[in-house]
Symmetry: C2
Subunit: 371 residues, 2 copies
Amino acid sequence: MRLKLKKEDLNKGLQAVQKVAQNKSNNISSENGLLIKALHGIIEFQANDYDMGIKITVPGIIEEGGEAFIANPYLMELTRRLPSDEIEIIKEDADTQLMIKGGKLKFECLTMNPDDFNEVEIVENGYASFTTTSVVMKDLIDNTSYACATDVARPIFMGTYLDVQGDQMTMVATDTHRLALKTATLDEPVDNPLQAVIPSRLLSEISRQLPTDIPETVEITAVRNYLAVQFGNVYIRTRLIEGEFPNYRRVIPSDFKCVVTVDRAEFTGAVERASIVAKDAQYNVINFIVADDQIKLMSQHPDYGTVEDYVPCHLEGQGLDISFNGKFILDILKHCHDSEVILKSKENSPMLVQDKEDTSCVFVVTPMRTK
Amino acid sequence: MRLKLKKEDLNKGLQAVQKVAQNKSNNISSENGLLIKALHGIIEFQANDYDMGIKITVPGIIEEGGEAFIANPYLMELTRRLPSDEIEIIKEDADTQLMIKGGKLKFECLTMNPDDFNEVEIVENGYASFTTTSVVMKDLIDNTSYACATDVARPIFMGTYLDVQGDQMTMVATDTHRLALKTATLDEPVDNPLQAVIPSRLLSEISRQLPTDIPETVEITAVRNYLAVQFGNVYIRTRLIEGEFPNYRRVIPSDFKCVVTVDRAEFTGAVERASIVAKDAQYNVINFIVADDQIKLMSQHPDYGTVEDYVPCHLEGQGLDISFNGKFILDILKHCHDSEVILKSKENSPMLVQDKEDTSCVFVVTPMRTK
């Protein structure tokens, strides 16, 4: 194999497969490493672990075709710093050494048998598929997947639910204490509804790769146990979580006695300050008392003092005395964008939080019993 | 006690004493925490642990004098985020609670008995003293103290040696494998020579506090076991390391067979790249072969490959084949400033590194035996 690549293209390719290639969560060496494949005029980088397979084509000149299977933790760090923009990758068929040349630098490393690499299969026929853009997809992932559980005992809640019906694409994540939901409208309705629970940490990796500077078309195809996501020169195949995701629509409250409109930045500042002493105490409890067009926040640490703060608000309906985990409130506020947010609740009931104008995102958080 | 301070001044005061106040290396509670003292029209913040005492005066209005001894890990984080520029600090004499008010926020926390605080003593008469500027002092600390040892078994090498004789102020640090020295000329020669070994981690704290935007006069006074450093509104008293620092002049080589001039940025890049595979292998060995006006660098990791690179240079004298710990070479290059550096050595001997123009800094590094 003899390839000539631009440093930028080499690094884009390596960056795309890097995380999957360096997966340390399993010890099966065939699922750790990356494949460089130059065949039929196409240079392709692949990585494939138990959870996710990723394939990216990169531009370059194939002087001699071939393939190389490399598991080297230094590869990316070195290629990023190569002292030239023109890179050569050379591997003689009879040799197990791969050489990377850039400027006067030569890096030589061992390769493994490419037959031991588990290539990324292309999912041809799914039961459902649809098309959206990288910007919409990333936005749905980033606004929902953070709310999932990290508790391995309940795997279904470690995923984010993708629910596509008609022209509505919804993503939902919950850890049972809080829930985040975002909906987008597709250009074309789907023929068959699509439901899948995608491990949230894999979604984060997909989100990292989705381009946002120039929106690209994303094609999503579902088979029973896998989902395929394709955009630009990237193809990703991700494992799904088996099991039934609970009916999220039932969890979203609709009956409120107290509706509060508050400046997002002011409210965020006050919750952040109240969290300083609360965050190391158990459950990060902040008490919110809404009355007379202001929210009173109170928090305390048994050894290090109490914080009391006030934020002006606009109140419709009754006042409220309720406590939440401050981290959950901050997580929600971080994902709001409008200058004002709306909080809707009643005593001892879940609170619904939304941007004032853009209602495509719905956040729900369960109160804490403190009395 | 009732004080009115600007948020900026409060935070400057807290920032200065914070690190010493939160010293976790001892469990003596009287040496953990800070004292706010408002007496005779002066507001003072103090912290004092076994190693270092620090005192800073801050501007503000004393409505009622008094003092408060606080050990609170959240204080700084809270005051930095207070929603107002005008801060009030209130403690009733009979009460153990301190209140900090800013805007609508109130923070209340417990205080301890101020009699339990070990106040920072002012060193009145030392055996020697001199004056320099904060910029010179910081420059000498930052260019030398990094080279000290971290091995507690040899405490003398965990310090940086301050040697003031006539109008020459020198700082030196070594871990016996490498040495860094920098000299500055004082405006006024000292009456009595001053020699002290200052714990390098305390010097780093002093360096952090020395202002460089506007140079300030620094007064240094030495007593047998302590050094006092005073600048602006800050007074620092630091423990010294007992014992004799070795004669550093004898360690600096002066007989060379190979003198190399090399571009600092190019050389740094090559050493960084060679270090990528070497850094996790034992001792971070990089082999340097100087010949024909170029330096060849070679490094290897037993499992992950070899790097070979070349940097053009100007050679006077004989060629050289020598190996060093790449980290030591990078540490030196980080502290050089000229566009070119000079390397002087001979086979199997320590190498001296200096900026080409500014020779106030001297770096020495011992080679590694690889054969």
